[in-house]
């Protein structure tokens, strides 16, 4: 597969390491009442869609960026690639 890196352009997926659903960015609040349940769902439950999937890839043999890749799990077509850091910020994560 080829991942169109937002900074570097097309790169072979073998340069990357895969982690999984980009929902892993949305780490729950450990202080929350339902933290135990929230962390259980966060760590273990997946939508696992047959179709479009937002997922995390690490450019291990490249610029060491974590990327959020939107890929179709039925066809492997990739429609969007973003820097995970930008996505994380846009989802309200900071420090």
């Amino acid at each position: 597969m080829i991942i169109d890196h937002p900074l570097l352009g097309p790169r072979d997926s073998s340069e990357f390491t895969y982690m999984g659903d980009a929902a892993l960015i949305d780490r729950p609040d450990p202080e929350a009442e339902d933290a135990a349940q929230a962390f259980y769902e966060y760590a273990y439950l997946r939508d696992n869609p047959a179709g479009w999937h937002r997922e995390l890839w690490f450019h291990e043999a490249g610029d060491r960026s974590w990327l959020v890749v939107t890929r179709n799990t039925l066809t492997h077509e990739i429609s969007k690639v973003e820097l995970a850091r930008d996505v994380a910020r846009s989802r309200g994560r900071s420090r």
Partner: protein, 184 residues
């Protein structure tokens, strides 16, 4: 002044196979510069004053004595002659202060210069870079025989510089020699 002598990663003689010459270059001091949060502009400015320009994404600035290339977002690798810049990291720290995180990298890398007409054919057997599309100053981090390497297209058309992990210098050199023989 200390009395320890450095040893090169391999210390092999330059080797010419067919038209390709492979040379270990142990004369390069290296240090990385990573911009602290909110200081990328300061870093860009400093890099410009140091190299004449801040290396853009996927590019190197082939400048003397210091040269530099882009490593990652807000991160650059600076290289300079070991003879004059062994303390490159300290020099850079002094220059960038708290605007950047400086990390000494000299020991981490083995540097090979590969030159010759058949260099592109050799690259095609080594790594997944579109070598014939690369122009002077293009840099790509890639994989050679499972090793993470930087491939830098130097000024002259038939010259690339390869930075690879020093501990695997032997493996990397073997891969280069094998490929050179294969296309010779």
């Amino acid at each position: 002044m200390h009395d320890l002598t450095p040893t090169p990663a391999l210390g092999y003689e330059a080797q010419t196979i067919g038209t390709v010459t492979i040379t270990e270059n142990s004369g390069v001091a290296l240090a990385s510069v990573a911009a602290r949060t909110g200081h990328s502009d300061t870093c860009t400015a400093e890099l410009t004053s140091l190299l004449g320009a801040a290396p853009r994404v996927g590019r190197a600035v082939l400048h003397d004595p210091e040269a530099g290339f882009w490593m990652g977002p807000d991160q650059w690798m600076i290289g300079a002659p070991m003879a004059t810049h062994e303390d490159l990291a300290d020099q850079l720290k002094a220059r960038f202060g708290t605007a950047a995180s400086i990390t000494e990298q000299s020991g981490a890398w083995v540097v090979f210069d590969v030159t010759g007409d058949a260099m592109p054919d050799m690259c095609e057997l080594l790594c997944n870079v579109a070598i014939r599309r690369m122009t002077a100053g293009d840099v790509q981090r890639t994989v050679i025989h499972q090793l993470g390497c930087f491939v830098i297209r130097r000024a002259s058309d038939d010259h690339i510089r390869i930075l690879g992990p020093r501990a695997s210098a032997g493996t990397l050199h073997h891969a280069l020699i094998t490929a050179a023989k294969s296309i010779a």
